[in-house]
């Protein structure tokens, strides 16, 4: 409590603090989440988080769905980077089914995943700008996120809720336009990111605003279970892509940016640097793709006849293909019994899928480890004692996404 605090007469039941409902529908929360703040003037005394405003019972729905129908559900976790969620889910299914994917599929996946990471970090960082009063950067980079969305559209036909890829690979091969668009993006994006950094990174107004806002120590972050950019900003170089490589990430050379204090500025810098690293990963993947020759250069899915749909021409003409087609679509194939946990480095941190299968046609139990849910627990610790306007910046720099928080 501050010095100039109002003194109430003895025995008064009047409150000396103000209660402020930040959310659930508030333009600054960027999603449906509620914070009940107790304010002493501008200073936050305590906060209380409520969740569940867009709880859609995905884990329960998934218990009655064949594996392929769960992919569209994962789209809606972190909707800023839906392809990452989709890929994580496919990798989990493949782990349970024991499918190994060809290298080319892995590299194509890496390209899509890193594009998604860039678009997610771009949104997050530019929103930090918006919340600290700089709308300009957001406006300028949005058109380049559009380039990424156009690439998704070329591959899967949709832009936001992508439902991209299938168990074992992709639904179709990347066409030439998709590759041209990726090249174009690789060409244009560095200049844009440079300009974005020019606007923000060494800008005094921005630095003054962010440095020291919402810091967390490495120890506390680990205790909470932080992962991803938010943990790296606190100084722990934990990255699932390195510690537990999936989708052939071990073939790529990239570094892990780490911060020191774990404040908003560190998180901003870490995300910015990760975008550069992602760009370099995509370049390496594009380079590796050119090394496939002959029939290998057209592989876009693994050979999993029990889960990957047969070609449409065969379905129209051949009985056997038609039977498989029916079996897969109706979800009539029993899964192997077992338990799997697979996690990927999603844009926001470690996104894990824990699936228990009792040998039926749908998962017996499925749990999503959503990083946002964990970050939100630390929100009170990060904002207590700071100003109200810092609370907003902390929220956006943790990249709290309601869809991922609530599942």
């Amino acid at each position: 409590m501050s010095e100039q605090h109002i003194k109430l007469p003895e025995g008064s039941i009047e409150k000396t603090t103000t209660t402020l409902n930040l959310g659930p529908t508030h333009p600054a929360t960027h999603g449906v989440m509620q914070n009940i703040l107790e304010l002493d003037g501008e200073r936050i005394v305590s906060t209380e988080q409520t969740i569940g405003y867009i709880h859609r019972a995905f884990e329960k729905i998934a218990e009655r769905r064949p594996l392929y129908q769960i992919t569209p559900l994962t789209d809606r976790l972190n909707y800023c980077s839906a392809p990452l969620n989709n890929m994580g889910w496919h990798l989990t299914c493949e782990k349970l089914l024991g499918v190994s994917t060809p290298k080319r599929v892995d590299y194509l996946r890496v390209i899509v995943m890193e594009l998604a990471r860039i678009s997610d970090h771009l949104i997050c960082n530019s929103i930090v700008g918006v919340d600290s009063g700089a709308y300009t950067g957001f406006l300028y980079v949005m058109q380049y996120r559009e380039l990424i969305y156009e690439i998704y559209e070329e591959i899967c036909g949709s832009r936001l809720t992508t439902n991209i890829g299938r168990i074992g690979g992709f639904e179709r091969n990347f066409n030439d336009i998709a590759f041209q668009k990726i090249e174009k993006f690789l060409d244009e994006y560095p200049r844009v990111l440079k300009e974005f950094e020019n606007l923000f990174t060494r800008n005094r107004i921005f630095m003054d605003r962010l440095i020291g806002a919402g810091p967390i120590s490495a120890e506390r972050a680990l205790n909470y279970g932080f992962t991803g950019p938010n943990l790296r900003a606190a100084g722990v170089d934990y990255d699932v892509r390195i510690s537990n490589p999936y989708s052939s990430y071990q073939d790529f050379d990239f570094s892990v940016p780490v911060g020191t204090t774990g404040d908003c500025y560190d998180r901003f810098l870490v995300r910015n640097e990760e975008m550069w690293q992602s760009l370099s990963i995509i370049r390496q993947a594009m380079q590796k793709l050119t090394e496939f020759k002959g029939a290998e250069a057209d592989v876009y899915h693994a050979d999993v006849p029990e889960y990957y749909l047969p070609k449409k021409e065969d379905v129209y003409t051949k009985m056997e293909a038609l039977i498989w087609h029916f079996k897969i679509i109706m979800g009539e194939i029993d899964m192997p019994k077992g338990e799997v946990y697979h996690s990927i480095e999603a844009a926001n941190g470690e996104l894990g899928y824990y699936m228990i299968s009792d040998g039926g046609r749908a998962p017996a139990r499925l749990h999503f480890r959503r990083p946002c849910f964990i970050y939100y627990q630390a929100y009170e610790e990060l904002t207590k004692g700071s100003m109200l306007s810092d609370a907003i910046i902390v929220m956006s720099s943790l990249n709290l996404i309601a869809g991922e928080m609530d599942a």
Partner: protein, 179 residues
């Protein structure tokens, strides 16, 4: 804490004398803004202008006909099974003698409805159809006055009959062929 040998500390040096100047920061920002002022506009004048979609775009559904104008759908129900949003409803009926010019197979969908408010445009129905009958077109953003208007009936979904409207049929076929 060090877990890998790939850590790279971010550049967090303190501000230097020039960076401390507010005026310099404002100037720098203004320069970027002014440069953008003279750049080509990124926006388009929707709805007069539309951006080209990819060939595999997932928009509103259409039900296909064959060259003689017969409905292809045989009411097998696979699309409804595949639909994660449970948006498709259908009723099957048997083809009577004399209706061969209307329906391609012996069984057809007497009623076929897609609730566009439920649909999430995932594209699974198109993938599931073994009869080349349902496709997602490039049309999107439907508008209507009431909820019931979003439940698309078979007649709303079917593409034009080549006998009555060869032009329209050709256009729809062109859209399908690109898939």
């Amino acid at each position: 804490m060090q877990l890998t040998n790939r850590a790279k500390p971010v550049d967090r040096r303190p501000m230097n004398a020039i960076e401390r100047l507010y005026l310099w920061n404002i100037l720098k920002g203004m320069m970027i803004t002014i440069r953008h002022f003279f750049k080509k506009k990124a926006t388009i004048q929707y709805p007069e202008q539309k951006r080209p979609f990819s060939q595999v775009f997932r928009g509103l559904h259409i039900l296909n006909r064959d060259e003689e104008g017969r409905e292809r759908c045989t009411a097998c129900g696979l699309c409804a099974v595949a639909c994660p949003a449970e948006a498709i409803t259908m009723e099957a009926a048997e083809r009577e003698p004399g209706e061969e010019n209307l329906y391609r197979e012996e069984k057809y969908a007497a009623r076929y409805e897609i609730n566009m408010l439920r649909c999430i445009f995932c594209g699974y129905c198109e993938e599931a159809c073994p009869k080349d009958a349902i496709y997602l077109s490039q049309t999107f953003a439907p508008a209507n006055y009431g909820r019931s208007g979003f439940i698309y009936k078979k007649q709303d979904l079917l593409i034009p009959n080549p006998v009555e409207d060869p032009e329209g049929f050709k256009k729809a076929q062109g859209e399908i062929a690109r898939k």
